[in-house]
Amino acid sequence: MMGFPERVYEFFERVHHRLKEQKREGLAILWEGLKDAIFGGSDKAARQAPYIRDAIGMQRYMGTPLIACIPLVIAAIYCYGWSTLAILLVTYVVGGIVELTFCAIRRHEITEGLLVTCMLYALALPPTLGRVENWWIIAVGIAVAIVIKEIFGGSGYNIFNPAITGRAFLLLTFPREMTVYWYTPFNPLTDGLGGFVHWSPETAKGIDAIAKATPLGAFNDPNLPVPDLFTLVTGIGRADSLGAGFPLLLLLGGAYMLYTRVIDWRVSIVMIVTTGLFSQFLHFIAPTRFPDGLFAVLSGGLLFAAFLNATDPVTSPMTRRGKWIFGIMLGVLTVLGRGLTGYAEWVTFSILIGNLFTPLLDRFTIPKAYAGPAISRR
């Protein structure tokens, strides 16, 4: 007597077999991907020892950052209206199409990392890209990100964090759209249901909703007032990227990911602490160029990137010492880049540079085995 899951499984197997018979390899790969997504590998049996395997699989592993992002998405929808969802949808659709095309043509399996890549890419975009005339920019960015990932061989082989690649591409190609226009978010203290009943702040309030700069941009511009600590911490009235403006929610998500061991504190916490301390140190020397430590940590995309982008397992070191060095390096580069260059959002570039060093860091920090020198028996 076969249960329901077994019958569904058999159906999938039969169709897969038919596709193989008809030599439709690309379709077969996609069908297999759908089957894997539904059955989560529960059908695959261990052929060699160990015969019991950890319950963690790539689906759950990659699902954890998505769970950590759920509060951010809800907050972003509230603050910036349903255009947020449009940004996410465009990202997922275009990213999905590009990735699936690659998988079908190159005959490699569809991997779960795509879901995280798209989420992180979308949440790091300015909310003004939700305007219909800007959707194509979103599409270009994610397409470039996925293509560059696939050029290196797909998930697991990419040397740059794909979400950051896409963002860096947009920063350099569309600097106006990426850095000049921001929305003042709906304010939960005054705006009631806010973004839950509006398309975007612009459709609700018109020109009033356009903000001049993010907190970091305001710090770099002597003509703009720097937001106070309350705004920075709570994100109320803080103009910023979709998911980057909510430090409390980011800490919550980060804590969850740290608890589940999906990210390592040696990268995330070390990067945050380094940024804070180093910026505070330079603040004593050049207070106009470098903000104090707390501001440096809370402003810009630092928390977002430290918890979600820098900790991307594929592009960060595996060894414990490597992770320390990586975290410190990212913190230092971020502070220096923010203070000394024109770009406010230097986290992006410091992560790209850090990614470049990852293989090298792994190579030079291989742990020493707990074993004496080798002896020969003969």
Binding site: F4, P5, E6, V8, Y9, I38, F39, G40, G41, S42, D43, K44, A45, A46, Q48, A49, P50, Y51, I52, R53, D54, A55, I56, G57, M58, Q59, R60, Y61, G63, T64, E109, T111, E112, S155, G156, Y157, Y259, T260, R261, V262, D264, P313, V314, S316, M318, T319, K323, D362, I366, P367, A369, Y370, A371, G372, P373, A374, I375, S376, R377, R378
Partner: protein, 478 residues
């Protein structure tokens, strides 16, 4: 006796939950005598020995049926008939743990169980010299009851105080399903303590260090009471983290000594013995019984009634599992679920070095298995809510995930008890770059299997590393 109050442990490792079908706390029971016994002439670490019997011979329980001349270069241990009866077959069979063809003697039982005991068993073992004890242990075929199957006599052959400094007693069992040895510790505590004294004496009165799980306070109290006046003994309490019971990890945790790469604990003047070995040593010296019966857990999610049994070595596992399997499709594993080997046929026998026979439910397709909260799942990560008060964790042969490229999450580095880089080792070994793997300490791997266990990409790291080690050893011997 020196008592160390603090808990000791090591870096890495994993606390396994209790998997379904674990016979925890079940008292040892006597398995019925098998109708036939298949005794392999190569046991554990030992070399294959030459048979001393022919087809048709009548043998008694405990009679030596295979033996090599003692040779320190090629240590071997005599092999005994484990039931009385007639030798039915002597043939080459694939060894259940490594598949290499090995001579095996099949004995058909006559139902008498007539014993041939060792000569002159004595309660006054304290009067015997180290050499005499070593001879008895050799004749009794006492070997380690764990995966390595290390012959005690080989260790004791070194048995002069200049060569061996420490006797380490492994009284901690951290592998999933290995409950029988713990049970033996509870039920045969006297034999264990005396056996420990015998082994110590056979090694030339060395220092003894006992590694005991901290979850056994009763045993700890009793050990302290019994051994209070001996200054040669130290009891250490250890956290029950896998693979604390591994020789190299145990010696490192207790004594801070590092086993050389590709070497054994004897290379650093230590001997590690387990509970089964202590009891076997006692039974050999005091009762004159050769090591023909061991304790074994019959366990696993596909087993109807998990048990801890005293079983004759050579009992076919079909006699243990018949009418006891609950699932139509079950995977039967001899030894550990982490480093053992699955068996296609149930005709393979219980070996000296297999503390368990495990039958796991075969993987079944499930709809969206990762969507649930995972109350009953065991994971190194916190991604599943593994409720600690739920007694049993789910155990099937499912990979619990699809095979993917390495995402470099680093879990294998976090769990590795030897502080290795398993992902890189596996990558090198899979591509036959053994010399590169040797540079990053391939031979320090103890093959505990944790890296492959925790891998979210389900990469068969243990298999890759084992292959690399085999290649490396072949290159050395070539």
């Amino acid at each position: 006796m020196a008592v160390l109050g603090s808990l000791k442990t090591f870096k890495g490792g994993h606390y396994f939950g209790l998997f379904e079908g674990t016979p925890r706390g079940k008292r040892l029971s006597q398995a019925p005598l098998p109708k036939r016994a298949i005794v392999f002439l190569r046991q554990g670490f030992s070399a294959e020995v030459a048979p001393l019997v022919q087809v048709g011979d009548r043998v008694k329980t405990g009679q030596i049926i295979g033996k090599n001349d003692p040779n320190p270069q090629k240590p071997s241990t005599p092999v005994h008939a484990t039931i009385s009866g007639r030798v039915a077959k002597i043939e080459k069979l694939p060894h259940p743990l490594d598949g290499r063809p090995t001579l095996a003697v099949t004995i058909e039982s006559d139902g008498q169980d007539a014993w041939q005991l060792l000569e002159r068993p004595t309660l006054n073992y304290e009067r015997l010299s180290a050499e005499e004890l070593g001879k008895i242990l050799y004749d009794a075929g006492v070997t380690s009851g764990g995966q390595a199957g290390f012959p005690t006599a080989f260790a004791t052959a070194y048995g002069t105080p200049e060569r061996i400094r420490y006797l380490v007693i492994n009284a901690i069992e951290t592998e999933p399903y290995f409950e029988a040895t713990d049970q033996l510790l509870y039920e045969e505590f006297d034999k264990f303590v005396n056996g420990m004294k015998i082994l110590r004496q056979a090694l030339g009165n060395v220092q003894v260090h006992i590694g005991l799980g901290y979850n056994k306070p009763r045993i700890y109290e009793e050990l302290i009471t019994r051994l209070e006046y001996y200054d040669w003994c130290t009891v250490h309490q250890l956290l029950p983290k896998y693979p604390q019971g591994d020789d190299a990890v145990l010696v490192r945790t207790l004594l801070d000594l590092l086993v050389p790469q590709g070497g054994y604990v004897t290379d650093i003047q230590c001997v590690v013995q387990d509970v089964q070995q202590c009891v076997a040593a006692y039974e050999a010296v005091v009762e004159g019984k050769p090591f023909v019966e061991r304790v074994i857990s019959v366990a696993g999610s596909a087993v109807k009634e998990p048990k801890n049994l005293r079983v004759r070595i050579g009992t076919p596992i079909s006699e243990l599992l018949d009418n006891n399997l609950s699932a139509a499709r079950a995977r039967v594993i001899l030894g550990s679920v982490l480093r053992g080997r699955d068996q296609q046929s149930l005709d393979v026998p219980v070996l000296k070095e297999t503390p368990a026979v495990i039958a796991l439910k075969e993987a079944q397709p499930e709809l969206m298995p990762v969507a649930g909260p995972g109350f009953d799942r065991d994971s190194f990560t916190g991604a599943y809510i593994s409720l600690p008060w739920l007694k049993f964790k789910r155990a099937t042969t499912s990979l619990n995930g699809n095979q993917r490229a390495c995402v470099r999450c680093g879990y294998c580095l976090d769990v590795c008890p030897q502080n290795l880089f398993p992902a890189m080792l596996g990558e090198y070994c899979a591509h036959d770059l053994v010399s590169n793997a040797l540079e990053i300490d391939l031979m320090a791997c103890i093959e505990c299997g944790l890296c492959a266990y925790v891998c979210p990409s389900k990469i068969p790291l243990l298999e890759q590393i084992r292959k690399g080690k085999r290649q490396a050893l072949e290159e050395v011997s070539a």
